[in-house]
Symmetry: C2
Subunit: 313 residues, 2 copies
């Protein structure tokens, strides 16, 4: 970390699991404007950083820390976020922003009444190809969108039991990344018209999902999410318009238009999120878009459930 | 129907099933300001009223009909509602307003862009005791709310297969009436923190649901919905505050405060809805509150699913 004369934004990080270690801690460390001032973790934090067992303990001990980033599982995020907002802290939420849509709307209202920033992040929207894809689609007639989001759950979520529990979203945990890109790049909203959710017999959350959406002027979006893909992994979005097509691949990191790879620049998803968080705080703004989570809730609400063979980690 | 010299608001009614015959047609007939000008039904309308097989046919044949009321099943309501709004007609939606939350938000935006009225109705909010209950709770510290909504599905929904299909909501079809009252009378929002949904082995929708919500200042709401209750039916909401308790019973028709029955006046739920629809049109306003449907979506999203014995009509 570079020491500078300008003010450093102190951040406390709550929930020290895989995503914190893989993404949040390196992103904070790489940003000269940010400092990791403390962690919140019941099971111990990281070496050399002050740790508190609970959010309440952190808030009481460190009134000087203005911003808190939460990456514990969504099922337990609301209480911690609400406590931080009530204590006047700015809050950043890992995706999905909560276990329910309504709790996120309550947090948004609480942040507004407290005059602090709430940032419900969607890290895939920071992928290198997304902004250019959005510009390409603006003003065009989009005929069809096809999403394939297929990965190996054993590789990406080893032993993460919370993801299979109610509120853990199952295959929608990665799938919501695709939906966060979709809702970012489309010029107008779509809604779920059909959903098939496939649950392992021994699990509370789906391991696969097929979705269909309808949009304006006959647009149809089809999405296939599957957690059983071994070998090469697939995170692709294809959009066909009246004047050409685009393909986002590698989760949005690569973009091709009419088959030609485009130059895209990006400094990484999580560095981008933290830069935006700091910018929102400086501007006194919030960014809380529940659309991706609402699509998942709609899919659960209206979807047909199928059972498949048990899943063992 | 009384003939008057003042302008009659012509209404077309789409979806001529049980709720249309039991509630909508009598309510329109009883209101001297309204006239049932046409129906839309594939299976035939009602005697003496012009019928069209599709919404498109109605809209083409009768540009003079300014308002359309939709009471077909929610799974097929979006397309009809969107067509009517695009044709510049005012639209009233039976509850639930759609099969997904997002489609209702899209209709709300479409109505706004077309400059017409959209009224997503919640008939239970028109029950006689609701307004007084809301006034009683305003400004009080509410400690606990208990909802029991238990009825016999065979009596209330005989042979209605759509209610068991994806998007049909199952026991949430009546339960959402309780949630529409809850969200009307509480001074601040709550969110689902736990849900247990019980599905018959042979059905896609739940026959029972236990919900728990959290609100501000420690408020807990518990709700029990069950479609297997024979004998006396139960539609009760009990709220305990720091200065007394209230009980809404008979689905909101009766109200007691601290055990004493209150005088409540009401002209009936559906007559109230149609009066409000006419008032919204006259004022150039819409009324689209998705909160009850969002709570159901949240319950599906975060709920634990249990299986129970098959249900046969």
């Amino acid at each position: 970390m570079t020491a500078t004369e300008t003010a450093i934004l102190d951040i406390a990080l709550a929930g020290i699991g895989k995503i914190a270690r893989d993404q949040h801690i390196p992103a904070i460390a790489a940003d000269p404007g940010l400092g990791l001032a403390a962690t919140v973790s019941r099971s111990g934090g990281i070496e050399g950083v002050e740790n508190h067992a609970t959010m309440e303990a952190l808030l009481a001990a460190r009134p000087d820390i203005a911003a808190v980033s939460l990456c514990m599982p969504p099922q337990v995020r609301f209480e911690a976020a609400a406590a931080a907002l009530r204590a006047g802290r700015h809050v950043m939420l890992e995706k999905p922003p909560g276990a329910t849509v309504t709790e996120v709307l309550r947090l948004r209202d609480l942040a507004a009444s407290q005059g602090v920033t709430l940032f419900a992040t969607w890290h895939s929207r920071q992928a290198a190809g997304v902004a250019t894809a959005k510009s390409f689609l603006a003003g065009k007639a989009i005929r069809r969108v096809r999403i394939d989001w297929k990965e190996d759950v054993r590789h990406w979520h080893p032993g993460q039991d919370w993801i299979w529990e109610p509120g853990g979203l199952g295959v929608f945990d990665p799938g919501i990344n695709a939906l966060s890109i979709l809702t970012e790049i489309l010029p107008a909203p779509v809604h779920v018209t059909a959903a098939e959710l496939t649950f392992p017999e021994n699990r509370a959350q789906p391991i696969a999902a097929d979705l269909r959406f309808a949009g304006a002027d006959g647009l149809v979006v089809e999405a296939e999410f599957d957690w059983r893909q071994t070998g090469p992994q697939t995170w692709d979005i294809l959009a066909e318009t009246d004047v050409g097509s685009l393909r986002l691949s590698d989760g949005g990191a690569r973009l091709a238009i009419d088959g030609t790879a485009q130059e895209v620049a990006g400094s990484g998803e999580y560095p981008g999120l933290y830069r935006r968080f700091a910018g929102l705080i400086a501007a006194g703004q919030s960014d809380v878009d529940v659309a991706p989570l609402l699509h998942v809730a709609d899919a659960f609400l209206t979807g047909r459930r199928n059972l498949t063979e048990p899943f063992h980690d």
